[in-house]
């Protein structure tokens, strides 16, 4: 099963990369842009008997390695591949 993991800096954590990109977008003329946050996108295949099992494993992967809960939020999607 295909798991797509999205890791983003927590709302209360300063994201200087997002802020720099926001400034650049504004200087390109996109004055209506705000709240740019930059994170990571991880895809992986997991052998699992059910989407529930894949979801449970993905949650553990995120907690233990893919995200650092002190500074990052995560969410993921599971697809039959």
């Amino acid at each position: 099963m295909l798991v797509k993991v999205f890791v983003t800096p927590r709302r209360d954590i300063l994201d200087p990369q997002g802020r720099a990109v926001e400034q650049s977008l504004k200087s390109l003329g996109f004055k209506n842009v705000s709240d740019v946050r930059i994170g990571k996108y991880v895809t992986l295949n997991v052998e699992a008997s059910s989407p529930e099992q894949a979801r449970a494993e993905a949650a553990r992967m995120c907690e233990q390695l893919l995200a650092n809960p002190v500074i990052e939020d995560y969410r993921f999607e599971v697809e039959n591949s």
Partner: protein, 240 residues
Amino acid sequence: MKWGVIRFPGSLDDGDALWALGEVMGQEARALWHKDETLGGAECVVLPGGFSYGDYLRCGAIARFSPIMRAVARFAAEGGLVIGICNGFQILCEAHLLPGALTRNRSLSFICQPVTVRVENAATPFTCAARTGDLLRLPIKHGEGRYVAPEAELDAMERRGQVLLRYVDPRGEASDAANPNGSMRSIAGVANERFNVFGLMPHPEHAVERALFGQDGLKLFESIVLSRSSSRLGEESAAR
């Protein structure tokens, strides 16, 4: 006193740490390999600076799973002294041996410059050769050194005295301008609740020679030697 300096793939400052401890201070210091499963009798373990495992995913995130880190976690749980410098600090945070995390510098730039840090709590094994309020001049060189932790946790850490070093200006005042990387509350170094694990972004091992940046870094290593010899005295008199 016996020291072990861990060498991860991508470690950079292990050589300088071994030099500072062995050649400059005359300590018994040896390198430990990341695949080792024991610490070779070390009384203090140093996690040096560098870019362990290429800093993939997050700084320190992969190094944390090295075989030797299991031994480090056991050693720390038994009260053994552990010090993490720069990348070593990042690894200790990722391993949950220290609170908080280190994130991208506020400026987004890699910073390589001298800083002044103030000793905030001298009643610890890592700072006891200094006095609270002492200023140390040390180099920093990092891209991800902005210390963050939840506000409530920071409050609790400050109450318990776990903030050991803070970035200050040359007069000893903390200010936004004297905070090189945007660390919360200008924090440069923290200890765990038991005060046997210490992490800091500045590099004491690069400040041990009069001709090269001065010797303020020795204060921290000398503290560890001092605390170890006094606890050994305590153990001996208890045995008698």
